[in-house]
């Protein structure tokens, strides 16, 4: 019973129970001052006043009504659940390439319940065609809901599952794989998949939406079309992220999975390639390669699947006043690797040297990235950098801090040897290093 009165508490819940009302029923509330309201009982999402009942009036508006002594609440009708009829599926154009879409959650593919406002995942192929009919002109789409979670709840265990699922989709010899993902940690997942899946025979394209797909202005459709077009047309066998290039609904940017970062909390063009060129762009339904430095699609059978991660790696941001005991504690907790997000060219204060020496003695890998985001670390310019190198801190070139910690988790799962960890961390596996820095790359 309580589940049918979602969100209600206190007085309101008591009153609703008393009259046997459920969400969706039609109620009439007669206030003692004479005002009368009739409408459908809707669920209460917010941490609101427990004395309020929320009705959707006939004119479509929701209002919250406080129930007091002397008010009369009656149920005057049963709720009717509207029957959803998806739009007819456009006729499939025969001979189109097959693309798998794996959904992990997020707002990219969801449908709104107009009665309650709840957003529910909708990723059956027919839902997708129904929302983005243009897809039917690009590919035969097969969909699979792997899980349905917010991206902030994503863990390395989820990365492993996604990698395995993609590998099995690729066995079906699809032209490409698209992964629908929440945007918050999409960059991390893209990096993880870049290391877990090597010699890809086809593009693996992550896609998300900054505006939920229930609204007419959602960026989901253009991004999804861009991702599917990339999966079909792109020449590369890499993991990429496809999202709006700018604020306009015209161009989708395709970023390398190890070089992409969410750089804005809300804009459509939040994703930027950092210290790298774009892999490509999609415009008017056509993919165009931008960077000529890419790994082409591998021949079938070459795919290497290494979907394991060791969570004993940590990312630490340094700041003035940073207490080096934090590093000591991390060592005590058994962490096997630390990525420092240092200042400038790759520095942390000399107060950290003692803890870092202990890390070296314990065989813990310590890598240096920069919180500047743009640019390359160089630990030869100042004393501090040279001192840090002396205690074993490894400069990680122009690798993103987020990519570095993901890579470290992956490397730690591949080997127990510190030497091998060092070697792998400095080896370009999935385009995480750029050998030279272009003047075009800056904030």
């Amino acid at each position: 019973m309580s589940s049918s009165l979602e969100g209600y508490k206190g007085v309101a819940l008591d009153v609703l129970r008393e009259i046997g009302a459920e969400v969706g029923d039609v109620l009439r509330i007669r206030k003692k001052d004479g005002a009368v309201y009739e409408g459908v009982l809707v669920p209460r999402f917010e941490y609101g006043d427990p004395e309020c009942i929320v009705l959707k009036l006939r004119n479509g508006y929701n209002v919250g009504l406080k129930i007091q002594e002397g008010d009369r609440v009656e149920k005057i009708g049963e709720g009717v659940k509207p029957a959803y009829k998806p739009r007819p599926i456009p006729e499939a154009v025969s001979g189109l390439p097959r693309v798998s879409i794996v959904s992990t959650g997020g707002t990219i593919a969801s449908r709104v319940d107009y009665r309650t406002g709840a957003v529910t995942p909708a990723l059956r192929a027919e839902d997708l065609y129904s929302m983005v009919p243009e897809l039917a002109e690009v590919a035969q789409v097969e969909t699979k809901v792997l899980f349905s979670i917010f991206s902030e709840d994503m863990t390395p265990k989820h990365w492993s599952k996604i990698a395995e699922e993609i590998a099995s989709e690729l066995e079906e010899e699809v032209r490409g794989v698209v992964v629908a993902h929440g945007t918050d940690t999409m960059g991390y997942t893209a990096a993880a998949l870049s290391f877990a899946l090597q010699n890809l025979p086809a593009p693996v394209v992550l896609v998300g939406a900054q505006r939920s797909s229930d609204r007419p202005s959602s960026d989901a459709a253009l991004n999804l079309i861009g991702a599917v077009v990339t999966a079909v047309q792109a020449p590369f066998g890499e993991v990429a992220v496809a999202m709006h290039r700018g604020l306009s609904d015209d161009v989708v940017a395709v970023h390398r999975g190890t070089k992409v970062r969410k750089c804005h909390t809300s804009r459509r063009d939040a994703f930027k390639s950092v210290n790298a060129e774009l892999l490509g762009v999609v415009e008017n339904g056509t993919y165009r390669q931008v960077s000529q430095d890419y790994r082409p699609r591998s021949p079938p059978g070459k795919l290497k699947v290494r979907p394991t991660f060791d969570e004993k790696a940590v990312l630490v941001k340094y700041y003035p006043g940073f207490n080096p005991e934090v590093l000591e504690k991390l060592l005590d907790m058994g962490y096997r690797g630390i990525i420092l997000e240092g200042t400038g060219l790759g520095h942390v204060g000399s107060v950290c040297l003692k803890a870092l020496e202990r890390a070296r003695d314990m065989g813990v890998f310590v890598g240096m990235t920069s919180q500047c985001i743009w640019g390359r670390v160089n630990m030869n310019v100042y004393y501090t950098g040279r001192d840090l190198q002396r205690v074993g801190v490894v400069p990680l070139e122009d690798m993103l801090p987020e990519t570095a910690v993901v890579k470290l988790m992956w490397v730690l799962a591949q080997t127990d040897s510190l030497e091998e960890v060092r070697r792998l961390m400095l080896t370009d596996i999935a385009g995480e290093f750029s050998p030279r820095t272009s003047y075009r790359w800056s904030a």
């Binding site: 006043d49 009036l57 479509g60 929701n62 959803y84 009829k85 007419p216």
Partner: protein, 629 residues
């Protein structure tokens, strides 16, 4: 025939910030400095349905160009940042209006998303919240019930339409609007205007609403017994409401008469729906009609359709400037994107000969009682246009189609779009609900503004205005200025009131944008008048200049217009000169020479002297002379 009219008034609130962000609540003066492109996709309703007009627009590849400047627009209006919590200042104003209209505020405000995909909202929905229900306003003894009071964000400004692009300016998006809807109980054009005025007075009484053209807009719902439901959207001037109602009632009545005639002619919808489109391109191979020639030359075709039984009806006037054929053409333009249509009721004309018309008639098999409509454009557009024409013809058999119309400056209306189905609304989950507490309502009740009826009484009793002038002042934007001027100067109250109403109104009619002058400048104007630095006669010229130089002071104006009143001594000198010049007249008429001399002097000194001052001096001097003589 019974007429039922309901009004929906939208008034911008004079808050510091917009409704859901911290941008200033006013239009951007600057040129747009940035633009971006969006395509709004029709979303499905909970039933999987898609609004046909929206889908149509989308399929045509229409897109929207949004223009902005950084001062008036932030990421929220661009749909690039979630909305901030609702502006509490705006909520207070809306609640104040609700209390003044005897409405019942809700206990908790829930912001909704109302789907609107014409591009006027970047999100594809307008954020709107119901603040209160019920209540009434009394208009000349009749109680007009209020249905709802809502608080919503204003939409973006339409700039232009160009090919497949619609341009909007984002500065207006997000300015708080209060929407007040009356029950459809208004029965005449005059009553509609009175109701609008009565509600407008209550809004202005709060002193928290914006003024000037475009800050208040009315939607008028009009239905004539047996007719359809027509909404005229966006009437910008209250004065236009009665005209809009009058013409719309006329239009609906005449459409009903046409329906009756069609029925008596035996027209049937099935026949119309079965009509085929006939290619008439060959008929006009060597036509003298330039429009047709050009369209065909560009690869178009001439496509026609017979409308059985419509002969002579397409040129029937529905309201001034609008014939039934014009309604058909509007539909063809909307759905087909064509420039217009030709129909046999208006032919031969436009270079089309009687011979060509006869050929057209014979090709489509139309006799004298039938009409033929044809269009010239690329085939797809021509087909869409004729389908729209046929659909409208079928509706003519029903009488008055439900539709949304836009007002023309003279009060007639034009087709805008089909009436949207029941508004699709769902909760705006990004904005927490606002609980309206008893304490808040008590606080607002304790400082409710003076009710307009009270104000009129006060204007009459305290300021000695007559009722007409008092009401005019109430209906103007200048109550606050009036109160300040009368408190701070000794300028007679009736003159101040008349200037702010009658004088300003007639200046506005001449095209002077008096409303652009800031209130402090108007106060300064009356202060200078009070100090005798300008005369009443100067006011129209000064006001004209100030309306064009809104950042300048009245002193600046006096310099620019070279207005300088004569000093006592200078005046005396001129008067003495004139008395000497006209000594004969003075001798002959004595004190009675006052009138002709006054006329002569004023023609020389208008704007340089206070006439009362001059008159007094002249009279004194004449009396002195008469005494001496």
């Amino acid at each position: 025939m019974k007429v039922r009219v309901g009004l929906e008034l939208h008034q911008q609130l004079a808050t510091r910030f917009k409704l859901f962000c911290k941008c200033p609540s006013e239009l951007g003066a600057e040129e747009p400095e940035h633009s971006f492109i969006r395509r709004l996709r029709p979303t499905q309703s909970e039933l999987g349905e898609v609004d046909p007009a929206a889908l149509f627009e989308f399929k045509k590849g229409r897109y929207i160009v949004y223009e902005l400047d950084d001062r008036s627009t932030c990421l929220v209006e661009m749909d690039e940042e979630p909305p901030h919590p609702m502006n509490e200042e705006a909520v207070d104003i809306a609640l104040t209006v609700a209390l003044m209209l005897n409405s019942d505020p809700v206990d908790e405000i829930h912001v909704m998303r109302k789907i609107v995909i014409d591009g006027s909202n970047t999100a594809g929905f307008q954020r709107t919240a119901l603040i209160a229900t019920g209540g009434y306003v009394d208009v000349e003894g009749k109680r007009i019930p209020i249905q709802t009071i809502c608080l919503e964000e204003d939409a973006a400004r339409l700039v232009k339409q160009q090919g497949k692009a619609v341009y909007y300016r984002l500065d207006r998006l997000g300015i708080p609007l209060i929407e007040i809807a009356t029950a459809p109980v208004i029965e005449s054009p005059e009553e509609a205007l009175k109701v609008a005025y009565a509600i407008g007075r209550i809004l202005r009484a709060t002193r928290r609403v914006r003024r000037g053209l475009g800050t208040i807009r009315q939607d008028v719902n009009i239905s004539v017994e047996g007719g359809g439901l027509v909404e005229v959207k966006g009437v910008q001037k209250l004065e236009l409401i009665s005209k809009v109602v009058e013409y719309e009632v006329m239009r609906q009545k005449r459409l009903l008469a046409i329906r009756d005639e069609l029925r008596s002619r035996g027209c049937r919808a099935e026949d119309l729906k079965g009509e085929r489109f006939i290619d008439l391109t060959d008929v006009f191979k060597n036509t003298g009609c330039r429009v047709l020639k050009r369209a065909v030359k560009k690869g178009g075709v001439v496509l026609g359709v017979r409308l059985k039984g419509f002969g002579g009806l397409l040129c029937r006037e529905l309201e001034p400037g609008l014939r039934l054929g014009g309604e058909f053409a509007a539909r063809a333009r909307f759905w087909g994107g064509v420039g217009g249509i030709f129909h046999t009721d208006e032919l031969p004309a436009y270079g089309i000969t009687a011979e060509e018309v006869a050929k057209v008639r014979s090709l489509v098999g139309a006799d004298e009682l039938d009409a033929v409509v044809f269009v010239a454009d690329v085939r797809d557009k021509a087909v869409d246009a004729l389908n729209a024409v046929l659909e409208r013809a079928v509706e003519a058999l029903e009488g008055v189609p439900d539709e949304t119309r836009g007002p023309n400056p003279d009060g007639t209306t034009r087709y805008m779009r089909p009436r949207p189905g029941a508004a699709r609304m769902y909760p705006e989950t990004d904005i927490p609900p606002i609980r309206i507490t008893e304490d808040r309502l008590l606080r607002l009740k304790a400082c409710l503004p003076e009710h307009p009826e009270e104000t009129v009484r006060r204007l009459i009793e305290v300021y000695g205005l007559n009722r007409k002038l008092a009401e005019q002042l109430m209906d103007s934007d200048y109550m606050p200025v009036f109160e300040k001027v009368t408190a701070e100067t000794k300028v007679p109250t009736r003159f101040v009131a008349a200037t702010l109403t009658e004088t300003f109104k007639s200046l506005e009619r001449e095209g002077v944008e008096v409303h652009r002058i800031p209130d402090p400048t108007l106060l300064e104007l009356f202060k200078l008048l009070d100090r005798g630095l300008i005369t009443r006669e100067n006011i129209p010229d000064v006001v004209k200049w100030l309306s064009l130089n809104t950042d300048k002071t009245v002193e600046d104006c006096l310099k620019a217009l070279n207005i300088r009143l004569l000093s006592q001594a200078e005046l005396e000198k001129v008067v003495e000169e004139v008395l000497a010049e006209r000594a004969e007249l003075v001798d002959k008429m004595g004190v009675k020479a006052l009138k002709p001399l006054m006329g002569y002097l004023m023609s020389r000194l208008r704007g340089k002297v206070d006439p009362r001052l001059l008159m007094n001096m002249l009279r004194r001097k004449l009396e002195e002379r008469a005494g001496r003589g």
